[in-house]
């Protein structure tokens, strides 16, 4: 960036750019300057005529001062040195011919008049030319200032852009403003191909033919199109590759105004713009890459955790079942009826566990797919609570599950199997993570706008900083005992939310965990 600016400001020119300069200068004379010559001649003629009307009052010597005044004004009206010189010569001759005696000849009678004529001629030419040069330099300085400001603004805006889209939008705006052009950005699909559609921030669209021209620019890493010496210079668009030392990112295309010229200065400004923009794009690209890598690493970690957990959950009951069945073949074992019954029990429990795992996996898939359809019917809340409790009672061993339902809890319109599964999952959670002799309380009451179901226990409660993670899929509190996928509570939450309800977990003041479910009553 800095080096670019320096190069640009020091105005280094090589031979090629110098000849270009010369050519454009000639062209200017032919195009615009010729009118200025006429204008200069006209101004001198008209002012000569006016002065002629009053010259008897002011004396022929003051006429030179008036002419000098007029010539010094010319540079301010954007007259170049040529016309000014013409004006100086013409005014000197007019003065001599019409005003210096003897009149209507170029002869000068007095020596002092001849001196004055000569001095006038020199002063008029020199001052006119000097003023004109100052004027030109000022214009150049202004131009440079504008360009520096444009670069500065671009740099500032690019550095505050936070995504590829923002960088593109900002680039389009600045290119459009500085070069008065329409702008298109086309990013790469692969190393060798551009995307088929332009970036949405672009101000115009391109057709297939133009896209091929852009593709040439991208592949050759060179400017292609209008103002270039490359193929397809018939294209109305100038394509510039977005390129850094490391790689290519795409192309920018600009449509300059019909009558525009792209002189050296403008071209180097464009190059500086594109270099800055490419760097900004690269920055965003690398940031994105770093982010993606992080995401991949995270998802691989998640995948491994998930895989470990599921395979553990699958293999444990299968191990039990295979162990039990293979033992039954053993002669020393299958003679003992007591042991056979124990093995069958264990196999039964393992099968239950496997069934629960499969159900959980199916439930979470249903939730994930997002097309959960509720089959709502009117059921009693009390029924829901009692049936859920009876479904988990076989697992609860010595734990006491108390249930209290207020008489007016009444009926509620809901999908019975789903909410029952949600309650079973929560109850199961309470049973799994509390000591054997724990007490679990389930209650339901009706408020004006909702049904409140509370499930609480008098166990250890949750670690305070883990409560926020309880309902996260596959999440298990570190250090908890083996068994479980971390799915149960997230399924419960999903099913409750499908009914428009909410669930939250908290620790009870007296110790123990508490789940509070709110189901809205829509009247």
């Amino acid at each position: 960036m800095e080096t670019l600016n320096k190069k640009y400001e020091s105005g280094e020119l090589n031979i090629e750019t110098a000849t270009k300069h010369f050519k454009s200068y000639i062209r200017k004379i032919w195009n615009a300057a010729i009118t200025k010559y006429f204008l200069a001649a006209l101004i001198i003629s008209v002012s000569g005529l006016l002065i002629y009307l009053i010259h008897l009052h002011i004396g022929y010597q003051s006429v030179s001062l008036v002419f000098l005044f007029i010539i010094s004004l010319l540079p301010l009206l954007n007259f170049k040195p040529g016309p000014i010189f013409l004006a100086a010569v013409m005014s000197a001759l007019v003065w001599n011919f019409f005003f210096i005696p003897p009149y209507y000849t170029f002869r000068i009678g007095k020596v002092e008049d001849a001196m004055m004529f000569l001095m006038y001629f020199v002063i008029a030419s020199v001052s006119g030319l000097l003023i004109s040069r100052i004027r030109t330099q000022q214009v150049l300085i202004n131009q440079k200032e504008r360009r520096t400001a444009a670069l500065y603004n671009l740099t500032r805006d690019l550095s505050s852009s936070r995504s590829l889209d923002e960088v593109t939008q900002c680039s389009v705006n600045h290119l459009k403003e500085t070069f008065h052009s329409e702008v298109v950005f086309l990013y790469q699909e692969t190393d060798k191909n551009l995307k088929s559609s332009v970036h949405p921030a672009s101000t115009f669209k391109i057709d297939d033919a133009e896209r091929n021209v852009a593709q040439i620019s991208f592949l050759s890493s060179q400017k292609v199109g209008r103002f270039t010496h490359n193929v397809s210079s018939i294209s109305p668009v100038t394509y510039v590759p977005l390129i850094t030392k490391n790689r290519k990112y795409g192309i920018a295309g600009l449509i300059f105004p019909e009558n525009a010229t792209l002189d050296t200065e403008a071209e180097s400004l464009l190059d500086a713009f594109i270099a800055l923009i490419s760097t900004a794009i690269e920055r965003e690209y690398l940031t994105e890459l770093a982010k993606n890598n992080l995401v991949i690493a995270e998802s691989e970690k998640l995948y491994k955790t998930l895989f470990d957990s599921i395979s553990h959950e699958l293999k444990t009951p299968i191990t039990t079942i295979i162990g039990a069945i293979s033992s039954l073949k053993d002669e020393r074992i299958n003679g003992n009826r007591n042991i056979i019954l124990q093995l069958i029990d264990e196999a039964g429990i393992a099968t239950e566990r496997l069934k629960r795992l499969v159900e959980n996996l199916l439930d979470i898939t249903r939730l994930e797919r997002g097309n959960l359809k509720l089959k709502k019917e009117w059921h009693s809340i009390a029924d829901l609570l009692y049936s859920s409790i009876s479904r988990v009672e076989s697992d609860s061993s010595h734990r006491k599950i108390n249930c209290s339902v207020e008489d007016d809890a009444g009926l509620y319109n809901f999908d019975y199997p789903l909410l029952e599964q949600a309650l079973i999952n929560i109850l199961h959670n309470s049973i799994e993570y509390t000591p054997d002799d724990c007490r679990i309380d389930v209650s339901a009451k009706r408020r004006s706008d909702s049904i409140v179901i509370t499930i609480s226990d008098d166990g250890k409660g949750f670690p305070e900083n883990e409560i926020k993670n309880l309902f996260t899929k596959f999440y298990r509190i570190p250090g908890t005992k083996a068994g479980g996928t971390g799915l149960g509570l997230s399924i419960a939450k999903g099913f409750i939310e499908a009914h428009g309800g909410t669930i939250k977990a908290q620790n009870r003041r007296g110790g123990g965990a508490e789940f509070i479910i709110l189901l809205p009553i829509n009247l």
């Binding site: 395979s311 553990h312 009951p317 191990t319 039990t320 079942i321 295979i322 053993d330």
Partner: protein, 230 residues
């Protein structure tokens, strides 16, 4: 002195502990089942069991850590039990001094066979000069191998390998262990050496080298010389 027929089972899954208690109990073993690694170490110290069954994935500390701890003060046979049937973990455990491994889900008969083999190995006197396995016989004092009483011509390296296999009958020997023992620690990564030598040995000792019955492969882990009853 090890208590007769006592086995300590360290596994975090209560179901696995229960099924092992039932089946091993029926086989006449006394099972002490423990869910945590630290408690397991204490139980081993207190009860002097004949064998330990250790799960690799424990909640409080990794099974490998428990194994390392046990190995600092005891040579008791340890059978690794794991749902992670990833070979890397098994090899790590074996190199840390585990005697054998069984992956879940396992067949009870297979587990019991492994348990008995490992207990038998510890009870065998180490000073035998001749060991017979099926048709094979090795004479350590003369450095000779026989098949059906006929002497087999083996190279020095082949003899060294066979020596290790006969000394560790029915025990899996990791690639790492075999390479280190025979070629030294520098070559512990070059398992293709082993494949070549094992191939040659099989040609000499096996009836059908394509379906070996003496030296079998535990894929990804190592080789094992099976105990063959005549």
């Amino acid at each position: 002195m090890a208590s007769q027929n006592t086995i300590v089972v360290i596994d975090d899954e209560s179901q696995i502990r229960k099924i092992l208690s039932i089946t091993l109990g029926a086989e006449g073993f006394k099972v002490i089942d423990i869910s945590k690694g630290k408690d397991g170490i204490i139980a081993i110290a207190n009860n002097h069991p004949q064998l330990v069954i250790l799960d690799l994935g424990l909640p409080d500390e990794d099974g490998l850590t428990v194994l390392k701890e046990i190995r600092t003060w005891s040579n008791i046979p340890v059978i690794i039990l794991s749902v992670r049937n990833s070979e890397d973990d098994i090899v790590k455990a074996l190199d840390l001094g585990a005697d054998d491994y069984v992956t879940k889900p396992f067949n009870t008969a297979e587990l019991i066979a492994r348990i008995r083999a490992n207990i038998r190995r510890t009870q065998q006197p180490d000073s035998q000069s001749v060991v017979v396995n099926g048709d094979l016989k090795i004479d350590f004092s003369k450095r000779l191998i026989y098949k059906n009483e006929e002497e087999l011509k083996v190279t020095n390296t082949e003899y060294m390998l066979l020596f290790l296999f006969f000394k560790n009958l029915d025990k899996v020997l990791t690639h790492n262990y075999l390479l280190k023992e025979i070629w030294g620690p520098i070559h512990s990564e070059d398992s293709q050496y082993l494949r070549v030598f094992i191939g040659q040995i099989r040609k000499k000792i096996e009836d059908d080298p394509a379906h070996p019955k003496y030296i079998t492969t535990d894929s990804g882990v190592g080789y094992r010389m099976r105990l063959i009853n005549k």
